[in-house]
């Protein structure tokens, strides 16, 4: 009996060890055997439909020495998945990443630096073919590029054209001012089921202080921070303060949704005509193509004080240091940026590619769908001379959110006086100093 028990335990232990070993060996990026083609694994955060289109496009990638495999992963909880794979050192060769992830991972030495290949590589796939602000922001302080930008996020104001017309307000268009916007919001509030005239989570939420930079920069003042990637200071000059005061007044009179407004359903409320104006990204256009809103709508550039100013942001594709074959991985990365979007974007025009020659298919798709205001605004944003970053991308960026909730949002809500703004900025400067 005892021998049987011992043997059972021994066999079980061996089986467990075997299983653990097998599990450890089977995950992660697989460079393939030394004599066969290299397999490059790709992971996205896209929906099942978009992934199917990407997979189809990747099937046309032809190279005898390289196989491409799109990982079948559900799109939800991408952040958690990425964190787990990073900790387990099992990241695929190419994975979708934000500018902040790229900056933070590169500073930790986790990503392959593509700067040399992009600057000195063959053919047309060069840095000067990308949107300049994207390339600039994907560089770390020491010039490394831990990934390449793939799609641009542009922002503006989505408006309900029917509501504007009914209220006798001119439709928002390039060159409209912040005062125009607040005046329109005041007229549109509490009408036709709309509680607020403007819902702008980007202005009142955790990223609000950065979005407010658009006002101060447009008015000739200073942005909230000199650089979101490598900040040396934060400031709130007189122009910035003026912008905050105007927003606070608009929140107070009920025309703009206050901090704390749950913006999770804003897209559907906008489509249902219950939110007449909302700040948002160009990607909403793709959703509106499938779930058609009940209203006539448009997309306008952000308002200005004197000069047009907008937000910049982009997402991209990163590669872990331990990718087995950098050349093979780069070939696939190049293929995705130059060819894959042509196949994916016509069906779902979610964002303009950062690689400018690939933008045609995006704009063609929007034009075909009669979304001309989106085309115009995205083009204006991409060529905007003055841009401000959406948020810090630094290691300590998460602490800024709590400081904003504790100090900046109460100012907007009128619970703290505007004179508390310098104290908030000082705290941010404390973090910058500590971080550097």
């Amino acid at each position: 009996m005892r021998i049987v028990v011992k043997r059972t335990i021994g066999v079980t232990a061996l089986a467990c060890a075997g299983l653990l070993t097998a599990t450890a060996c089977s995950g992660g990026s697989d460079g393939g055997s030394s004599d066969g083609p290299v397999t490059v694994k790709v992971m996205t955060w896209e929906s099942a439909e978009t992934n199917a289109a990407i997979k189809k496009a990747l099937a046309d990638f032809k190279d005898d020495n390289v196989k491409v495999e799109l990982l079948e992963t559900p799109s939800g909880q991408y952040g958690d998945k990425l964190a787990s794979l990073t900790q387990a050192k099992q990241l695929p060769d190419l994975f979708w990443c934000g500018n902040d992830t790229e900056q933070q991972y590169t500073s930790q030495g986790l990503l392959v630096d593509w700067a040399d290949k992009l600057n000195n590589g063959d053919g047309d796939f060069k840095a000067d073919k990308f949107v300049p602000s994207a390339i600039e922001n994907w560089k770390t302080a020491d010039g490394q590029m831990g990934g390449l930008p793939s799609l641009m996020n542009t922002y503006g104001v989505w408006y309900n054209a029917d509501a504007f017309t009914a209220a006798g307000i001119p439709l928002p268009k390039a060159g409209w001012t912040w005062d125009d916007m607040y005046a329109a919001a005041a007229k549109l509030a509490n009408k036709n089921g709309a509680k607020y005239g403007l819902v702008a989570d980007q202005l009142t939420g955790p990223d609000g202080p950065f979005t407010m930079s658009m006002y101060s920069v447009s008015a000739g003042g200073a942005p909230f921070t000199d650089n979101v990637n490598h900040p040396t200071k934060a400031e709130a000059d007189d122009k910035y303060k003026e912008g905050v005061e105007k927003l606070t007044a608009a929140i107070k009179n009920g025309s703009v949704a206050p901090p704390g407004y749950d913006a999770a359903n804003v897209q559907s409320l906008f489509a249902a005509g219950k939110v007449p104006m909302t700040f948002g990204g160009q990607w909403l256009a793709a959703g509106f193509q499938t779930d058609k809103p009940k209203i006539k709508y448009g997309f306008a550039p952000f308002p200005q004080v004197q000069t047009p100013t907008t937000l910049y942001d982009s997402v991209g594709i990163c590669t872990p240091q331990y990718t087995k074959d950098q050349d093979a991985t780069y070939k696939v990365l190049q293929y995705i940026n130059t060819k894959v979007w042509d196949a994916v974007l016509p069906a779902s025009p979610v964002a303009p590619p950062a690689y400018t020659p690939a933008q045609t298919s995006y704009f063609d798709a929007l034009t075909k769908a009669q979304q001309q205001t989106v085309v115009d605004t995205v083009k204006a944003d991409l060529s905007a001379e003055k841009t401000v970053g959406v948020r810090f991308t630094t290691q300590w960026a998460s602490q800024v959110g709590d400081l904003t909730t504790a100090n900046y949002q109460p100012i907007l809500s009128g619970k703290k006086p505007i004179t508390d703004l310098p104290a908030y900025v000082d705290k941010i400067n404390g973090l910058i100093k500590q971080g550097s």
Binding site: Q108, P259, G260, Y261, S398, S413
Partner: protein, 320 residues
């Protein structure tokens, strides 16, 4: 478990070991260890080790990407002195406990007393009262989020139709926590079922004697029911307080801690630091320090409750 004898023919027959233990008894002991081994190993792997590891991590700066760096009490210093979210999180947690625990106990007991009556359909009522507990929590909480939506939600629509004042509910810094507690109370059937079992274990002769003595319903409740179920009440106080201190699902789904810090309870803060949104670096060392603070608070609350329980719990000393 195993009786170890030292003499007698039976032992001689089985053979004795050097320590005086029979060979069979020794075998039984080994078998016993083997049987408890999975539980002990499970505890060590899934509780013991993580506990020690998290304490170590609480003393480090650790982001999960690079090796931990020892910072001593730095994380705790940051928690208590510079973190703008920590004290509001403690306040929100305390407020939630103070609102939820008494309400859940009162409502649970009231429901249990109602369900302890004899009337037609009592089983259906019991089932209905317990039903929210077996429904998937995330689904019901999400449904409540729609109900409490200030613009298109059912609650405000009904109040508006009745000519009653509406509220911003989850989007108001004053109403958000009561709204969260309201949703939590939806699952009060769990508390009810334990109280119901306690009520049914009270000897009926006590009630009969009280009836003979002419005791009124309040006297019966405070002089018989409450003392008899007080040990279960103590258990419930401890269970509900512990659960309330660790509340996560409702604030996460309903408000994500907002507006401001009004519903940002400690568990939510821990989660956000340990598992931040995409693009943010985890602060696992810092989150571990928060976990230890919460752990100490829970232990302290349980210890205090237990210490003062003798003042209000009834124990039948003659039962020994």
């Amino acid at each position: 478990m195993t009786a170890v004898t030292t003499g007698g023919p039976a032992n001689r027959k089985r053979g004795r070991t050097r320590g005086g233990m029979s060979r069979n008894a020794g075998s039984d002991v080994r078998a016993a260890y083997l049987f408890i081994a999975p539980a002990v190993i499970g505890f060590l792997v899934f509780v013991g080790y993580p506990l020690i590891r998290s304490f170590y991590l609480a003393l480090t700066k650790y982001n999960g990407l690079t090796d931990p760096v020892f910072v001593g009490l730095g994380n705790f210093r940051r928690l208590f002195t510079t973190d703008p979210a920590f004290w509001p999180a403690l306040r929100a947690t305390g407020y939630l406990v103070l609102l939820y625990v008494p309400l859940s106990l009162i409502l649970g007991l009231a429901l249990a007393m109602f369900c302890n009556q004899r009337f037609a359909g009592v089983r259906v009522v019991r089932t209905l009262a317990y039903l929210p507990v077996v429904l998937p929590a995330v689904a019901t909480i999400t449904l409540w989020k729609f109900i409490l939506d200030p613009q298109v939600g059912l609650m405000n629509t009904i109040l508006d139709r009745l000519g009653l004042p509406t509220s911003l509910w989850l989007q108001s810094s004053t109403m958000s926590m009561p709204s969260v507690v309201l949703v939590m109370l939806w699952g009060v059937g769990g508390t009810m079922i334990i109280f119901l079992a306690a009520l049914q274990s009270v000897p009926t002769e006590l009630y009969e004697a009280a009836k003979v003595d002419g005791a009124g319903p309040w006297s019966v409740f405070f002089r018989i029911t409450m003392p008899m179920i007080s040990p279960i009440m103590l258990l419930q106080v401890i269970l509900q307080t512990t659960a309330a201190l660790q509340t996560f699902n409702q604030p996460k789904i309903l408000t994500n801690g907002g507006p401001g810090f009004s519903t940002k309870v400690l568990m939510l803060s821990i989660y956000e630091n340990g598992f931040p949104t995409l693009g943010r670096i985890p602060q696992l060392g810092y989150a571990s320090a928060q976990v230890w603070v919460l752990f100490v608070i829970i232990i302290a609350v349980i210890a205090l409750t237990a210490k003062f329980s003798s003042l209000w719990t009834y124990s039948d000393s003659t039962s020994d």
